[in-house]
Symmetry: C2
Subunit: 342 residues, 2 copies
DNA sequence: CTGAAAGCGCTAACAT
DNA sequence: ATGTTAGCGCTTTCAG
């Protein structure tokens, strides 16, 4: 087990030439004679040579690494985004460092610092549930690292964002419920300082209004958007004098919580209560009844973010154009919302 | 937007001292006077200094980075493992690079190379479905990078492995089915060259034998262990002269495929056909009927692998002790296997 | 077409 | 307690 790694210098000594020549030969520099190139390459293979990225990066000033920061890697939406990013990066020979914040603000700050220290060439991020202040991202940008936000973005600073049209997603979801005959529609909402949840709430309200239904503030319930939150909020709603006949949840997980609680209570879905979730997690087609949801094109969003990053990278000048790209989400109709009218 | 990053040298010039002093002060070296330490630290903050990990790593010969290679990041099992690894690494200020191979052999090889080039201090890996040859891992180990395999390991080379007792998992799963009254139990199997699938198959066979049931080779069906594979295998099984009355699947996904196909065919689960899956994916509790499965302690496995890595790291001598740590999986009984006897 | 030399930013002997 | 010096491995002018 020979610990010491083969270096360019080792190859040079062995071949009676210099490190510069070896370096060039390894990178197919046309200035090097075909013969020399072949000698170098074959010896490199023989000696199990691997370029030392660290050294090369130090010299070049870039790391060929993209940092990706997401709240959770096991959500279908985010894991699809990550796959999209990976596929684009892989082709460009870029590394992806995936950081999972678990919606923990301190971890998010720490990860940004680490990525900066690691000389990440760019950061693609979806900010955490409790992130109100994005100074940590700003300071990375000040150091010249492009930051591209996807899905959960902050409107506070000018940046490059790629988002879903959450207003529209909510609007079509709620319109669908209304068309199916539901009238008193509750909403599970997330924190208002996050664009995605604010927009979903507004889309929900607008859809009601456009269909002549006066929004009832009591029907908007903020919770943690997890299964447990959905459960307890549903319990609360059922205790109201006039309970709702449908729930539009800003998250599939809290929608699932609602579904489970309602089943336990013997309340029929969709007959007595309609449900629509958000994100089109894989499990939504497996529940009984299956959950109507909104698909957010995670994979495409990931691809797009990565492409945007590479475009920014390739730019000669450093000034970037703050902008927001908006994708249109898609309603996936399943059983949990379908039967009231039939 | 001042592109150039503040370096230790910048700080030194500003403070009329030397880079070494600044370097030491930043790392709380006790040799440095309290006063100097404070001056350095505050100026560093003021000038938004961030250590350049790349440079520091080059100098130190280590990257404080662990590479994690998994087939899929969106499987609950793997994402739990990753969370376990992350939590341990985070405390040790180590970075985690997550690589997703999608069970693609070429990608796996490429990622190992990349990790070596990036000077990863260690590699924690679960090998791909089609990986029969692990030369790429061996060559990393030859370069002194500890490789720890979890879950899907290779018996071909002496290494550190942490696995579930898949034999036992299968054994308890099948014994459970037998106890519930099922007699003719089919098995969805994965490739025999992967330990996990080989062991599950053997556990299945042993459980049958121990209960006086002669295994029928026709009931062992190899498929891709995805939903589609489970569907088509089930279709096949149903066409047999004497179809099985239960299925033990080596994967929750193909178990799900079976469940969906059976439901479409109007076959009652668990009355006419029992099903047990493997891995305890989240969705298994959501299907109707819910799926009995085997939990593999993903999070703990991740923590354990990371801890093993750090132990190996800290060792003075380089010779590592090849060994295998085996965790015992747990049967999670749900509806899909419960009712035959009742 | 190849070589010599300098330097990316940081750290650790070895001084003093 | 601080400074001097050298070098991690690679790339890139600049010279031949």
């Amino acid at each position: 087990m020979n610990k010491r790694r083969t270096t360019i210098k080792d190859l040079a000594v062995e071949l009676n030439t210099t490190p510069s020549t070896v370096s060039r030969a390894l990178r197919q520099d046309p200035a090097i004679s075909k013969e020399m190139r072949e000698r170098v390459q074959s010896l490199a293979k023989l000696m199990n040579y691997r370029v030392n990225r660290i050294a090369s990066n130090l010299r070049n000033g870039k790391s060929k690494t993209i940092g990706v920061i997401v709240p959770h890697i096991n959500r279908d939406f985010f894991s699809n985004v990550i796959s999209g990013i990976e596929d684009v990066s892989y082709d460009k020979k870029y590394n992806v460092i995936i950081c999972q914040t678990h919606d923990d603000y301190a971890k998010e700050v720490q990860y940004v610092k680490t990525l900066v220290s690691s000389n990440a060439d760019g950061i693609l991020a979806s900010i955490g549930l409790r992130t109100k202040n994005i100074e940590h991202f700003n300071s990375a940008m000040k150091l010249g690292i492009p930051v591209i936000f996807f899905d959960r973005v902050s409107k506070k600073s000018p940046s490059i964002n790629i988002v879903n049209d959450d207003f529209k997603g909510a609007y079509i979801a709620v319109s669908h419920l209304i068309e199916m005959g539901y009238r008193r529609i509750a909403h599970f909402a997330g924190p208002d300082y996050l664009n995605v949840y604010r927009d979903r709430k507004n889309g929900y309200i607008k859809a009601l209004e456009d269909h002549g239904i006066t929004p009832d503030p009591e029907l908007v319930v903020y919770n943690d958007l997890k299964v447990s939150g959905g459960r307890s909020s549903t319990q609360m709603l059922l205790k109201m004098a006039t309970p709702p006949d449908a729930i539009f949840s800003a998250s599939d997980y809290s929608a699932l919580g609602a579904l489970l609680h309602l089943k336990e209570q013997g309340i029929k879905i969709p007959k007595e209560m309609g449900i629509v979730g958000y994100s089109n997690e894989k499990f939504t087609e497996l529940t009984a009844p299956s959950l109507t949801s909104i698909d957010q094109h995670g994979y495409e969003m990931g691809q797009y973010s990565a492409k945007l990053f590479f475009e920014e990278m390739d730019k000669k000048n450093n000034d970037f154009l703050p902008r927001t790209i908006t994708l249109t989400p898609k309603l996936i109709i399943r059983e949990s919302s379908s039967l009231k009218n039939t």
